[in-house]
Amino acid sequence: MDNALGQPQTIVLLGGTSDIGLAIVRELLSPATRAIVLACRDTSKGERAAGELRSDSVVVEVVPFDAADPSSHAALVEGIGGRYGDIDVVILAAGLLGNADVTTVDVAAATELATVNFTGSVSVTVAAANLLRAQGHGAIVILSSVAGERVRAANPVYGGTKAGLDGFAQGLGDLVAADGVHVLVVRPGFVRSAMTAGLKPAPLSTTPEHVARLTVKGLRAGRRTVWAPGALRYVFSALRHVPAPIWRRLPLG
């Protein structure tokens, strides 16, 4: 159960090795924390992250999780619920950026990206929402992206999956609010993380820690969406209305 300060006791990170996801977990850590579950496709990498979070009062478990295997998701979430009881926060941070040069021409690569970022993300989120709705409380943090706000030619598959995930999460959030469940959609811009290693930072680039601070603030304030950095909200409310011919020619990287 969350306490009055919005400090959760049990945290589940889907994509347990994600830089942004782990930064959010660290930001949520408090004397109230009792259990953290890192659900990862690479469990040995997950164990290294777990070692840094573990303490006398915090149990950290690493479990295998493949976003690309939706049929395993219900059992995964129910298993976690069975071992730890109520789950207070689920963070969905699993995602692929993909190389646009490949995903826009290679059917298998496009399918994999769409499966991880959309199909698998939807299925694991529905499984988590079922559990949270039954327990009558809890929060789901969805890592969307500004790339989904208006999809660019530079990376249409990635942007498209985020647009779909973002829309799904908003609608789900409205649906489950009556069951005491809070869905927070986080829209980062360019974040300097493993995902963007080697890429040239875009304007207004930021860090996983900064995204985490804004996310946790948004969670505690009951916000439905968070932009990181916050200024992107205004940038994109302008960009959304740029006429298509101009949009196509904007030098957005």
């Binding site: 159960m1 969350d2 306490n3 009055a4 300060l5 919005g6 400090q7 006791q9 408090s30 004397p31 109230a32 009062s57 009881g85 109520d86 039954a134 327990q135 009558g136 409380h137 009556a178 069951d179 005491g180 469940v181 505690r220 304030a221 009951g222």
Partner: protein
Amino acid sequence: MAAVRERLHGWGRTAATAAEVRELAAAELPEAVRTAGPRGALARGLGRSYGDAAQNSGGTVLRLHGPVGDAAAGPVDPVAGCVTVAAGTSLGDLLVAIVPQGWFVQVLPGTRHVTVGGAIASDIHGKNHHVEGSIGNHVLSMRLLLADGSVEDIAPDRRPELFWATIGGMGLTGVVLDATLRLLPIETSRMAVDTDRLPDLDAVFAAMTEGDDRYRYSVAWIDLLAKGAHLGRSVLTRGDHARLEQLPPGSGDPLAYRSRQLVAVPPIVPTPGLLNHATIAAFNELWFRKAPRHREGELVGTGTFFCPLDLVGHWNRLYGRQGMLQYQFVVPFGQEATMRRVIERLVASGTASFLAVLKRFGVANLAPLSFPSPGWTLALDIPAGSHGLGEMLHELDQVVLDAGGRHYFAKDAHTTPAAIRRGYPRLDEWRAVRDGVDPGRVWQSDLARRLDLLERSSEM
């Protein structure tokens, strides 16, 4: 009536969760309990506990406010000085019925909008704990709906373990259906009050230690914004029910009684609320200046004396969207230095607070989870969004526990299972009695989940 899922929170308006809320007649309760789902059932009164005590996320919540079926209060038995009341009756409504007949409740908290059931489940205390103890000391008997749907008549000499496990048991032993309470005879509905303005904390400790035993009621209101030489400056109010000869001649019906509310705060208050350091500092300063240095025998209404905040309906909304929490703890006598340390830390944090309330507790009763124990208790409201609040409260928790103190379930909204295990050494004894009448864990609450109240230490 069909069950409706509703988001519930406590008086602090934090950590809302959803539950199926049912308002049923007493006769329908056993069936509702027998058919409760895996997340069980819980009684809820007027939701005046600050945190999650009256919430049961994902389960059933049985809302009991309002007389269920029977009349709110039966007639007062003038010989035994007691009355039998439906558990959903508020103490305010009970007072309206009994004050004109010359009776008062033995224990009245800082608000009269609490139900008899909620009062028993929290084993509430008033400003007279040093003299009369908590409400459990004045429950002659009660009828308790058990997890299997049966109803048990319990009293200090009928199933005493279950009786005392229910006093202060936070609704986790069953639903109190009605209770027979011992009352206090009064001659008038007025209070005769002495007031002292005290310059610092030492003066407060000294005045209360020396003089409290001469008064039935005593409470000090501390200005938590006063620093340095003024640290702990307080207004101490002490008194008793006025006797007939204390009323001026021609003051009309000595037992006339009405409950009042002057205004109510509307549901929507701009975030981040209207209470900030500046508004609160101005209020505290005014309030301290307006108190007399020393005044004796002032006659005031019971509402003004016991429940000044009830004059403003829904004042909790003033804290805005993030809500607030109340920090209340007790430390034993002899731990005045600890109390000072805590107050210094609170003052230094600049966490805006209206007045904090300081009281002295007398002897504890037999209930294993009853909060009051001999010593000093401090209670204060804090906006839940305050910067650094989590760290500060965690630090203060350790200071309180190291001093042999503990925290109050009815107010708690932040502490941890470990803090409760230390503060309530008789927790396992209570669990054994509780499990005996509810092996299937029908009674559940968010408080119990957050603080692990139902798990046995050996299982962990």
